[in-house]
């Protein structure tokens, strides 16, 4: 069984909820993906899409965002693609420790942590042409299932 869908959405925050719903509904057709794992999937997709929207807004890029989903018996893979100017993942700064008062100055910077921890696979390819975030959630994997 393989099902694939492609979504092309405007650079608008109100579409994030819709994408979460569509991806979650697709994943729910695989009985090997538990409700907890589908929650993880919705979260990592939301993080990737939020970053993509912020990046295109920052660079004033109006082109639509593309989301590719591929569901198989063994996993669901989601790619979120933007056309912003990219970033260097090694340059993303670490957050201050939680005991530091400075920690409260940082409202952002948690998305990568969430994507790394909640997914079974995370690959990020970024260049001046844009960024592709490729996330995998395995069916019946050990994480939270």
């Amino acid at each position: 069984m393989t099902q694939e869908i492609e979504l092309n959405i405007p650079v608008r925050v109100d579409y994030v909820q819709l994408v979460r719903a569509v991806v979650g509904s697709l994943a729910a057709t695989n009985p090997g993906l538990s409700a907890a794992r589908i929650s993880d999937l919705r979260l990592v997709v939301s993080e990737a899409l939020t970053n993509a929207i912020r990046a295109q807004e920052k660079n004033s890029v109006a082109e639509r965002l593309t989301i590719l989903c591929k569901l198989t018996d063994s996993a669901i893979e989601v790619k979120v693609m933007d056309k912003a100017k990219g970033f260097e993942i090694d340059m993303v700064p670490d957050l201050p420790p939680t005991e530091s008062p400075e920690r409260l100055e940082h409202e952002r910077g948690l998305g990568l942590t969430i994507m790394r921890e909640m997914s079974d696979g995370l690959e990020i390819e970024s260049s001046s042409e844009g960024t592709v975030v490729h996330m995998t959630i395995n069916s019946q994997s050990g994480k939270n299932s």
Partner: protein, 108 residues
């Protein structure tokens, strides 16, 4: 579901019940609500998260900003009503070490 906030007061505490999705679209709604409360001198806020259907890092950022704002006005922010899913996200981001959290809304 778009974020809705229901407000109530008990003594010096203002309760904000968050209902719906706290994401990139919902975060500005919460920020605005906190700004309004602090501008009225209401610096002790209780966020009831039991009605949340989703939260991501954008929503967490709005809650962090709320805590910073009330503390800068000698206040505090308490989180109540976290389900297992929300608790997992807070722990993953080590925010359980920053926030005061209670299971239920009763403060005593």
């Amino acid at each position: 579901m778009n974020l809705e906030i229901h407000r109530s007061e008990t003594g010096k505490n203002v309760f904000l019940d968050l209902i719906g999705d706290l994401d990139m679209a919902g975060a500005p709604v919460l920020r605005q609500s906190v700004v309004q409360e602090v501008s009225k001198g209401n610096n002790f806020l209780v966020l009831d998260l039991s009605g949340l259907t989703f939260i991501d890092s954008a929503g967490l950022g709005a809650i962090i900003g709320g805590l910073r704002r009330v503390r800068s006005h000698e206040g505090d922010l308490l989180l109540v009503g976290l389900n297992d899913e929300l608790q997992k996200v807070f722990e993953l981001c080590e925010l359980d070490q920053i926030f005061n959290m209670k299971l239920r809304r009763e403060l005593n």
